[in-house]
Symmetry: C2
Subunit: 350 residues, 2 copies
């Protein structure tokens, strides 16, 4: 009898399941995780020109979109698979689910496969709060959270971890969503007010975060709701035909974006002329152009989520699982003894 | 004590490891697997206009390339991750490794994650032989196999399964590669001749298959080696800057391609004018344009590998694992009880 050949170590890819991602997050602590991840994102934004960048590759259908978001530097390649299906919730599915892979550029071999539904929620919030550190008005204490779905609590935790925000004003068209967020956020020690309208929610807030999920042009904020000096953190408009802000707001604001070629298609600025001026955040983070200049300026982070943030998150997780048991080896790569003898490997397994 | 909430079924994605792919292939039989898969590919080529098509998204580096190949019809979305690193072999790694995902278009949820290193070898061979059925000269009995690396044996098995080819003439610049293929193919019952040069290998062959791996412009076949009536099955030229045939051959041949926008960049025809006429295989398979017209015509399949072939392969595997134990459930998707309460799920796992 022949022994079945065993795959070597290089045939295995470390896999972080949802269960293990939750264990990793709690081992580090949610806010610490977000803050450390933000540090990785900031470091990567500061070396922006080193990345191979491309707008994400989207496949649109009636019900939603499936996207692939690749990027690479000289050493590592990462991509994320992510869907957005606003109708999913009604059937008990997540609107957004995601997973991702980090690979070695020099061999093309995957180094990590990980769930990214949770990780995307964490990196989106980490990016928002990181940008908030550059753009929110000095002494900001109150944030309005319009849209109390899956992203809401992560935004709150990130803005506390990075910007010291502890007072929140919530609104959602569905009061059950607000109740859920209220419960979760009070348990985390926030001072939270549930509001009856967007108009009420924005009162006294220096930071306005919109994270709604409808796949359509919507006007979550109108011009009169946005006073001088506020910072707008617009998360939900992230898809062609999906926006949250009235165009008049955009015209009064200084607009900060991740990657213009993608934001022009997907962000709030799809409502503006294609040459409307925008400021690239990587240049702000490198100190090449100013962020907030004065106390009356309206700043807008037109967030759509860019591949480099996922890349930072993949590298962060890859780094942090080392020496832990928060991953399992996955037999995902064929590894014949003689790499040219793929057929021999198959044949001997018979 | 609270019970840790268990993820529901929808959090799990069926995963086919390399080990399980080998079990599936042997349960069906290699040649039967290739022939059935070719049937799926043919059916999908015949409904070509139904697919959302895009050239693959490639990230090139000094050592190789990493590519994402997505496509979708109205029901299913599929993508493949695949690398090509010609120098890998020297370090004991595979030149090409791959994995893929099949998803539901209506929810965006992944339905299958599978190894695709073996599956790509099988689908590439299945596509070649399927095309061979339309283009190879009648009564073809002998195939030359130039390049005796990982793809070689799969090509032989596919051409036997689909075109009845049983006589093979092998050549590789590395005699050890030829020895390996000779051993494997004789054990499979082929009549095999190892040749000392490409010139010798093509003698008397009606089908010339080139599947070499160098990432550069090469001239594996020169014009004088290609007589009237042969069918050229050019597999290895599949990347910008990587070709196998002398351009004079291309000018004498009728050129058949998968997806022109991708083949113009990656295939042998990158050596020709961008408007040099090519024939699309899906139209041949639909009977809209002729394949081989006469016994003296030189036909060329300028194969680069297109996403729809991987889509067919993903659907085929998804179909064939049903009711078997050739997969394992992978906890890859976050699945909170209330889809808006992603944070609550994380928090309760603490």
């Amino acid at each position: 009898m022949m022994l079945r050949p065993q795959p070597s170590q290089r045939a295995f890819v470390p896999f972080v399941s949802v269960e293990n991602m939750m264990r990793l997050v709690h081992a580090i602590g949610v806010e610490r995780f977000i803050a450390d991840l933000a540090g990785h994102i900031e470091a990567d934004f500061r070396r922006w020109p080193e990345f191979d960048k491309t707008p994400r590759v989207a496949s649109h259908s009636r019900d939603g979109v499936i996207e692939l978001m690749p990027t690479a530097d000289a050493e590592s390649y990462g991509f994320k698979y992510v869907n957005g299906h606003p109708g999913n919730m009604r059937a008990g599915y997540q609107t957004v689910t995601a997973f991702g892979v980090l690979s070695s550029v020099s061999t093309g071999y995957p180094l990590l496969l990980t769930e990214m539904t949770l990780l995307t929620a964490l990196r989106t919030a980490a990016t928002s709060a990181l940008v908030g550190r550059y753009l929110a008005p000095e002494g900001a204490q109150v944030m309005a959270l319009i849209g109390n779905g899956a992203q809401c609590e992560f935004q709150a935790l990130a803005f506390r971890a990075l910007c010291g925000i502890n007072r929140l004003r919530l609104y959602d068209i569905d009061p059950r969503a607000t109740e859920k967020a209220l419960r979760n956020l009070r348990a985390q020690g926030f001072e939270v007010t549930a509001c009856a309208s967007t108009q009420t929610a924005v009162e006294g807030a220096q930071i306005l975060t919109t994270c709604t999920a409808d796949k359509q042009f919507a006007t979550i904020l109108t011009d009169n709701m946005v006073g001088a000096g506020v910072h707008l953190n617009a998360i939900g408009g992230d898809c062609p035909g999906k926006t949250e802000l009235h165009p008049d707001i955009l015209k009064r604001a200084d607009i900060f974006v991740e990657y213009p070629p993608q934001t022009r298609i997907e962000g709030e600025i799809q409502q503006l002329d294609p040459d409307h001026p925008v400021i690239e955040l990587w240049q702000v983070m490198r100190g090449e152009v100013p962020g907030r200049r004065d106390a009356r300026q309206i700043t807008l982070f037109d967030s759509v989520g860019f591949a480099i943030e996922d890349f930072s998150a993949l590298r962060f997780v890859h780094e942090r699982i080392r020496g832990t048991d928060f991953f399992a080896p996955l037999d995902m790569l064929a590894d014949p003894d003689d790499p040219r003898d793929l057929f021999g490997m198959l044949d001997r397994a018979r």
